[in-house]
Symmetry: C2
Amino acid sequence: MIDVMLLGTGAMTPLPGRWLSSALVRSEGSLVLLDCGEGTQVAMRERGWGFRRLDALCLSHLHADHVAGVPGLLHTVANAGRTSPLHIYGPAGTVDVIEGLRTIARDLPYEVRVRELASGDEIDGPGELRIRVAAGEHRVPVLGYRFGRSRAPKFDADRAREMGVPVKAWSVLQRGEDVEVAGRVFEPSMVIGEQRSGVALGFATDTRPTDTLRELISGVDLLIAEGTYGVDDDGDKAITHRHMTFRESAQLAAKAGVGHLWLTHFSASMLNPVDWRGNATDVFPHVTIGRAGLEGRLNFDTGYEEIQMKEECRGLSH
Amino acid sequence: MIDVMLLGTGAMTPLPGRWLSSALVRSEGSLVLLDCGEGTQVAMRERGWGFRRLDALCLSHLHADHVAGVPGLLHTVANAGRTSPLHIYGPAGTVDVIEGLRTIARDLPYEVRVRELASGDEIDGPGELRIRVAAGEHRVPVLGYRFGRSRAPKFDADRAREMGVPVKAWSVLQRGEDVEVAGRVFEPSMVIGEQRSGVALGFATDTRPTDTLRELISGVDLLIAEGTYGVDDDGDKAITHRHMTFRESAQLAAKAGVGHLWLTHFSASMLNPVDWRGNATDVFPHVTIGRAGLEGRLNFDTGYEEIQMKEECRGLSH
């Protein structure tokens, strides 16, 4: 299971009532933050998932509206009592940018480990998440992310009982090891069923739609993608500034066969992004227009599910 | 005349409903921002004084909660169309910190001129403001600021008419130059009255009360000062962390003979700073507990005046 929440949906500059685009992922209690513009820590505080368990920050790219909140966040995580290392991942250049920003966040009670990733890299993240990245296409290096959680193959308990495998030996077989009981050897293949698919989340912002990204996010349960422009007529702007329209983002989602699409990273000139939802659903039906506090859950059995908000949507936040 | 507005009142970390402590000064159309923590640009946008005319940023010190908003602000000022230089003043170390933060704000359509000031320095700022600084006492170098506007001496029009000075020559005399009319020389002293006092604003945050600061802010019409702790019992904390209680700040105001005091920079643990106003007014009567959007005007003739808010105070903002 992976929980995910949008913290903000804005592009370029934080606005009253619209935090900059970022998202928070929770898996096995670990938190992973996706992008951190100015004010993201305030949005995090509003949402109440805490700061101390923030194990990783994944940066799409190094434009200020996606990273300027890093030094403040590092202080706030420190004040929350964190002492174990915090990992920061991002594209080429991340080490220098974090070093520059840490001019005002030098002394922290935990280590900050920065690692630059290249297209195709795959690493073990916190919370049993497998993180894979691929290059997008923007004015600067940008990465799309895929966060996957695999699932153990089904264990056939009935069959194990039939074969007389003692219950205390089940976990050994589940780990993939042989067990010898009273001179008889049991192998995992006897009781372990077929591989089961896990769940996966995709994140693609500040990019044109590309084949590389499509492959990266292929079949994810939920894709969080930018839709900087709602109106189809802004297609030229999207090309010039290396962004996507709602329609382009939805086309990417459709081609990649994702389960559901959240649109975010809205141009400041777009006051009511929901007005243009039809431009996305024209080509892909399962679209939610992002808003701060939008929550989803990726279930092993049932896939994507939207969590109903516990509180009324705040004033202008969308 | 000087206009001034509080943008936020928080210490250490930006909170939902409480922006970090900072203030905006307006004089002759020029804007000067005092401190710029994370989110200050959002507070500025909420208040509507604009960004393009931001001529100077004065930093009290270099802790993240007073400077982390700089890179985002620089971009927003650029987007507002500024092309003329923006000055940044601050204590020793400012050049390095701004250089570090500009890792994500390199290419701007205007020049950023950073100047480190030392205690006692006095410079000409924008908007006919004379800026003087003095060292405070904090865990890192900190500066208090005094912003003064002088006023031209009174011109005695009746006397000028009596003496037969042609009206077109008045402005020359007002500039302090002699004028010869029909062989007769008029000197400024003949028609220029006594020097008139101008107006002045003081700003002292993240500091203990010191004699040096008291001298700096002596007689200002309005002092914006930190009151990190409302409760007198937090006096020990104030000493340890090099801050002031409401009472200490009010004592400083009283000793310096200021006209009015705004308290700001409230500890996050103080939910309703106004509850502790009495600890300040015990020693100095003219105290306003700061809130985002609090506006004042320093008039040449009448001194400090609080501007009534045009809109209802926003939710939790104080």
